[in-house]
């Protein structure tokens, strides 16, 4: 049955309503609060507040930890993706399920679990103490936050990389070997460049949630380490300064958009050149 314009508009309407109520209106409100002060008059102060030392410090720390987490995720995910792509189909789905399984549990619960593991009197130190080994003091440090980020976001890196690796036809690898490339050259000249799109989407899907998280840093970083996500959260929940919180959100949003645009441009270039 051909769908005429009227019915198609009718079918679209729930999605349009959804988009308006849950995306456009909130976004508009963020922009409204971000560019006004508490009296409602226009100002750049909230956005410019990012330049203040403590805000800048939070942003840079968040960027640093996200970059470190993303790099670790990449280093862990790429070899795993290669192993998966080479494995037999039956083993493959089992390994993938194993890595996705934790995602079926609540995100906060998983992070809470890491808290119990890493605490100074936590499970890991308990085991170390039992073995008469020196304990580790890792909770409430940036390292704990990185562990939490890597653990929570690793599947988002594995899946796109595995997908792009498994879409490379064997004969392409054979062709590289046939043309004289050894296995190292084949990897760097053929396999790696062909998986750039997968790497970029993996990096984006790990880097962005890591950059904006406040739950992981709150639970594993204690109250001492403030990432930009924590700062924004506290502006809303503790200081009730919606204007400042929105202003900083806008900065973060623009930062992420720039990142996506830059990576998608380099992705296109990679495909063309």
């Amino acid at each position: 049955m051909p769908i005429n314009r009227k019915t198609s508009r009718l079918l679209n309407s729930p999605y349009v309503a959804w988009a308006v109520i849950f995306i456009i209106v909130p976004l508009f409100m963020v922009f409204y609060y971000g560019f006004t002060d508490d009296s409602g008059s226009f100002t750049f102060d909230n956005v410019a507040a990012i330049a203040s030392p403590e805000h800048m410090h939070s942003l840079l720390l968040a960027v640093a930890l996200s970059v470190v987490s993303t790099v670790i995720c990449f280093i862990l995910a790429y070899p795993l993706g290669m192993i998966l792509a080479r494995n037999k189909a039956s083993n493959r789905s089992m390994i993938i399920t194993l890595f996705i399984l934790p995602m079926w549990m609540n995100f906060l619960l998983r992070t809470l679990a890491w808290m119990t593991l890493l605490e100074n009197k936590g499970v890991i130190n308990g085991v170390l103490d039992f073995l008469h080994l020196p304990g580790i003091n890792i909770i409430n440090t940036p390292a704990a936050i990185v562990i939490g980020m890597v653990y929570n976001f690793l599947p988002f890196m594995i899946l796109p990389i595995y997908n792009s690796l498994s879409s490379i036809d064997d004969s392409v690898i054979f062709a590289a070997r046939d043309l004289g490339a050894d296995s190292k050259q084949t990897f760097f000249k053929v396999t790696l460049p062909l998986t750039v799109p997968g790497i970029i989407s993996g990096v984006t899907m790990v880097f962005i949630p890591a950059l904006t998280t406040f739950a992981i840093s709150t639970m594993l970083g204690g109250s001492k380490i403030l990432l930009i996500g924590n700062v924004i959260e506290q502006e809303f929940t503790l200081s009730y300064d919606w204007n400042l919180g929105s202003g900083l959100s806008i900065v973060l949003m623009v930062f992420i958009i720039i990142n996506i645009v830059v990576s998608s441009i380099s992705d296109k270039k990679g495909e063309e050149s």
Binding site: F174, A175, R177, D178, G180, S273
Partner: protein, 358 residues
């Protein structure tokens, strides 16, 4: 006799316990166009991959130009492969694809550029240097794959069903181009296909394979005119394969009627298979031939009529430019030298693929 270039000695290969190649021996001479021909699963691609170095044989060895290369990595072999699915590097343009092997060997930039231009000219793709593979048609991609292989000046070019994905017209054009290329390059081509027409058109030497065994080797004429067993006869072209009895030398009893033939040495009253090509079956007016029958079916094929004649319980396939109407009574006549007598299959791999087909 031409120089021996590649020798496969007693090659066996199994995958997951299933024997793909069983004690295969094959000699390939310099500057020949050799085709490995057979149905899917006959082991032809595995043979090619063993020559290319992508598979290691379980038993036996591969000798290349007098040197044992059985365990040599593919990147160290003096041969290049054109793959069925082109296998182009989609992140590189045409020129970069072609330059890949030369860059790996650290050839000077000027040399590489000359080679790219030469190769593109050879495959009729001048001006396509900076196109991306995905923007090319299947035929163009295959030309790039060929160019990419030949710039490395291999002694042997391996081609794994390279025309399989192309449409009929393009495939025929490419066949002639491959013949021309081989003559210009003066190197050995080893070509894998399941298409008997392709094999007959292009090859100097055809190796017919089935179920891991070589069934017959020879020139296209030999293979077509003198098939050694029912499988070869059935696989190469249409044919009438009839179970018969060799009465004595030069006399064979087909469907109860004695025919004079030219084959000898099969013994007396021995069961054999006889193959008669459809174009070798002559239809003559009743009373002038050896066996009488009725035309049961006629199809116009363009170049000729394809007729089915039922005679003595066998449905004869006949190709002729002269039409005999369906239902008409005719006699069948076969010249002695057009009757090819073969031994009965001794194993499953020598049997006709599908006796009722064609």
């Amino acid at each position: 006799m031409k120089k021996e270039l590649i020798k496969l000695n007693h090659i066996s290969k199994a995958f997951d316990g299933e024997l793909i190649l069983d004690d295969l021996n094959l000699v390939i001479h310099e500057n020949e166009f050799v085709t490995l021909l057979g149905p899917s699963g006959c082991g032809k691609t595995t043979t090619l991959r063993i020559i290319g170095g992508f598979e290691t044989p379980d038993k036996g060895n591969v000798v290349f130009d007098g040197v044992d290369i059985t365990d040599l990595a593919p990147n160290k072999r003096q041969l290049n492969t054109v793959f069925q699915k082109y296998a182009l590097f989609t992140h590189m343009d045409v020129a970069e694809n072609i330059a890949f092997g030369l860059k790996i060997r650290n050839k000077p930039q000027e040399f590489i550029e000359d080679k790219i231009n030469y190769a593109l000219k050879l495959v009729n793709l001048e001006g396509y240097e900076h196109r991306m593979p995905n923007s090319l048609s299947g035929g163009q991609q295959q030309r790039v794959a060929i160019a990419r292989a030949i710039v490395n000046e291999p002694k042997v070019l391996l081609l794994d069903e390279p025309l399989g994905a192309l449409d009929l017209k393009l495939r025929q054009d490419m066949q002639y181009e491959l013949i021309r290329l081989k003559e210009e390059l003066g190197i050995t081509f080893i070509y894998v296909t399941h298409d008997q027409e392709e094999a007959l058109t292009m090859s100097d030497h055809i190796v017919v394979m089935n179920q891991g065994y070589i069934q017959q080797e020879g020139s296209p004429e030999d293979i077509y005119n003198e098939p050694e067993n029912a499988f070869v006869a059935d696989f190469i072209g249409d044919s009438n394969i009839i179970s018969s009895t060799m009465v004595k030398d030069e006399l064979v009893n087909i469907l109860g009627v004695d025919f004079v033939c030219v084959d000898k040495g099969f013994g007396e009253m021995k069961p054999v298979d006889v193959v008669i090509r459809p174009e070798d079956v002559e239809l003559v007016p009743k009373g002038e031939g050896t066996i009488s029958g009725v035309v049961s079916h006629v199809i116009f094929k363009g170049v000729h009529y394809e007729m089915e004649v039922t005679a003595r319980g066998y449905k004869w396939l006949v190709h002729s430019t002269k039409l005999s109407e369906a239902g008409s009574e005719v006699d069948i006549k076969v010249d002695p030298f057009n009757i090819q007598v073969m031994n009965k299959p001794e194993s499953e791999d020598e049997e006709a693929l599908n006796p009722d087909a064609d």
